[in-house]
């Protein structure tokens, strides 16, 4: 273990990175996913895991997705990369509709090409690496599938190990011989093996010790700068999401409730759920500065089998009104670029907005689920 600490970022300046292209790299449009469940001997139901989710991510940017367990953020990640089939909606990648329930299944070669550009960093450093394969084999597997030559595989594996701050010798070790932080570095190296454009990080630092978490966050930021990566960064930790993201999407019970630039969202949260989340996050603060005066969130998370009518958050919302039970709130834009789905912010002239920035076609923007 004599590898030098991560040095990949040296000399790279934020300003030298090219400006994001005008068109988004990834657009998620009204995507829904329901999981069938068996409720009883004859009763069947469906958990609405993701409901009409829409957002877009621009090249080189980071889209943060935050929410508590059961909010559908991990399902959303799997829908985007194609690990789960979507029930409704479209996923547009580089202007091409890559996943849609209406489209025929992609052929193997096409699917492979999509996978080449979209990879994922997984959550659990224990389960994310094949315990029977060496680090070298793990990183080389995607390249092997994509027909890289043996020589290329070896060279690129060495380069990737160096990129993630590991030693070339680590290629011959097995996952159980590595620490949690090292495993997560291997996890990242594998995701980068095919030079993807989009990397989906699903709780990529949540399982790590605090002292190691910062190392991996720094590594992800450095790699983004150096390789021009676009991230979808999913976490339950609001502070980490704020630090990592350009734009943040807050999810509750499968729906996006607020999407905004990270700075503005944290400075001026609009949705009552976002406010409650921020107020609940423990803050390392002994200055005695006043904490936002938001009452703690009461009640239990409703069952996703039978979400509340109208606004899904209304059962726990301190400012719930009569209308909240009747109608699902439309997406409004109380201030430029700040989208929120809440009846506190009535629709203005720009009614019929979507959570994403770029309207693509004439499909209904947001279905009422009342």
């Amino acid at each position: 273990m004599t590898t030098p600490p991560a040095t990949v970022a040296t000399g790279l300046d934020k300003t030298t990175v090219e400006k994001p292209s005008p068109l988004p790299l990834l657009e998620v449009i009204n995507v829904s996913k329901r999981f069938p469940v068996r409720l009883g001997p004859l009763k069947r139901g469906a958990v609405s895991a993701v409901d009409t989710l829409s957002f877009s991510v621009e090249q080189g940017q980071t889209m943060g997705i935050v929410g508590e367990s059961g909010c559908g953020k991990s399902t959303a990640a799997r829908l985007v990369v194609g690990l789960l089939p979507i029930d409704e909606g479209d996923v547009i990648f580089e202007g091409v509709n890559v996943r849609s329930p209406h489209q025929p299944r992609h052929t193997g070669a096409r699917e492979k090409e999509i996978h080449r550009n979209m990879q994922m960093v997984f959550q659990d450093p224990h389960s994310a690496l094949n315990p029977r394969a060496s680090v070298g084999e793990i990183i080389a597997f995607p390249m092997k599938v994509h027909g890289f030559s043996r020589q290329d595989q070896r060279e690129r594996t060495g380069w990737l190990l160096e990129q993630v701050g590991l030693h070339g010798n680590h290629a011959s070790y097995y996952p159980h011989q590595l620490s949690g932080g090292q495993r997560q570095r291997v996890n990242i190296a594998r995701a980068l093996a095919l030079s993807p454009k989009l990397v989906v990080c699903d709780e990529a630092v949540s399982a790590l010790d605090k002292s190691v978490q910062a190392q991996v966050l720094n590594l992800l930021k450095d790699l983004q700068q150096e390789l021009g990566l676009t991230y979808m960064f999913i976490s339950h930790d609001l502070n980490v999401v704020e630090y990592m993201s350009d734009t943040v999407c807050v999810m509750y019970l499968g729906q996006a409730v607020e999407i905004c630039d990270a700075d503005r969202l944290y400075a001026n949260p609009l949705h009552p759920y976002t406010r409650a989340l921020l107020a609940s996050t423990p803050v390392l603060d002994v200055t005695g500065a006043p904490r936002p005066d938001v009452p703690p969130l009461e009640g239990e998370l409703p069952s996703p089998l039978d979400p509340p009518s109208g606004c899904r958050f209304r059962t726990r919302c301190p400012s719930a009104m009569a209308i909240c039970a009747e109608e699902a709130p439309a997406v409004t834009q109380p201030e430029p670029g700040h989208r929120v789905a809440c009846h506190l912010y009535p629709a203005g002239p720009d009614a019929g907005l979507s959570m994403r920035r770029h309207a693509v076609d004439g499909r209904p923007e947001r279905n009422s689920n009342a």
């Binding site: 273990m1 030098p4 600490p5 799997r78 997984f122 029977r132 394969a133 011989q177």
Partner: protein
């Protein structure tokens, strides 16, 4: 990554760094072999089994008697009779000779079905575990049918309808062991399939069969191997049971189970010779079971 910056050279640091350097890369199987080699019980059981295999393979070199034909004058000699170390049976055949030759049949009848069932069961189980849905429903519900029988009884029924003979006996035993192995393989596969590294493999765009072969099989190997090695001891006893009932090899070919049955009538005359074949079945079976336990311990790594 441990030593962030080289510090003042110091023997203590050097000594610690040497210890802290990652252990030599050791794969799972290498580690398992190392642990097995330090298990005394496992090595002893292995030695006994190798000895038994050697004896039955080299039977013609070790004895000059004919295993099938005996001298009527030498009938029912007791253990320790000169010239007949382990006595003779009811037809005057040398027991040592028959035990040595009989071992061949018993070992084949125990090992072959487990091997066949493991190959077929693993294929069926891993496929249904990985794909799930209707594939799993069809395969596993069919396997459940076989679970509705007491295994030995099913083996008897199959053997009875196929007729006696070593080959038919192996078929019968293979059939009854496919279902349990498929279940073990399916359960192990289902545990593995939810692991994130399988999702990572799917994200490469690799076809299902390739993922099963490269990512799944190595990970379900150990539970299946442990289960299958535990079955060998059982299979040897079950195979002997079938032979005992006259459903195995045909006389006069010696086989331990059948010998035990034909000597049953002599327990009042020559009791301990009658018990001999059973003793060898027991020794073989317990050696396999002890070996299986050691293998299980060796393969059981906390990762």
């Amino acid at each position: 990554m441990a030593l962030a910056e080289p510090m003042t050279a110091h023997s203590a640091i050097a000594a610690w760094a040497a210890v802290d350097a990652p252990a030599t890369p050791e794969s799972y199987l290498q580690a398992a072999r190392r642990r097995f080699m330090s298990s005394r019980v496992g090595l002893a059981a292995l030695a006994v089994l190798l000895f038994l295999v050697a004896l039955s393979v080299c039977a013609p070199l070790l004895t000059s008697y004919d295993p099938a034909v005996g001298q009527p004058v030498d009938r029912l000699k007791a253990i320790g009779t000169p010239g007949h170390l382990l006595g003779t049976d009811e037809q005057g055949r040398d027991m040592l000779t028959r035990i040595l030759y009989g071992g061949r049949m018993s070992l084949i009848a125990g090992l072959a079905p487990v091997f066949v069932a493991t190959v077929i069961g693993t294929a069926l189980g891993s496929l249904s575990g990985f794909i799930g849905r209707w594939v799993a429903a069809v395969i596993m519900r069919t396997m459940d049918m076989f679970y509705a029988f007491p295994a030995v009884l099913l083996a008897i029924a199959i053997s009875a309808s196929l007729g006696p003979g070593l080959f038919n006996q192996i078929i019968a035993l293979s059939i009854i062991y496919i279902a349990p192995i498929a279940r073990v393989a399916e359960a192990a596969t289902r545990r593995i399939v939810v692991a994130e590294f399988i999702e990572a493999a799917k994200l490469t765009g690799a076809p299902t069969t390739r993922i099963i072969v490269t990512q799944v099989l190595a990970n379900i190997f150990s539970p299946i191997f442990v289960y299958a090695s535990g079955l060998v001891g059982l299979a040897i006893v079950t195979a002997a049971s079938l032979s005992f009932l006259g459903l195995g090899v045909r006389p006069p070919t010696p086989e331990w189970g059948f010998m035990l049955n034909s000597l049953r009538g002599t327990i009042y005359v020559n009791p301990w010779v009658a018990a001999l074949p059973g003793f060898f079945i027991f020794i073989t079976s317990i050696s396999f079971n002890m070996l299986a336990d050691s293998v299980r311990d060796a393969l059981d790594v906390k990762e």
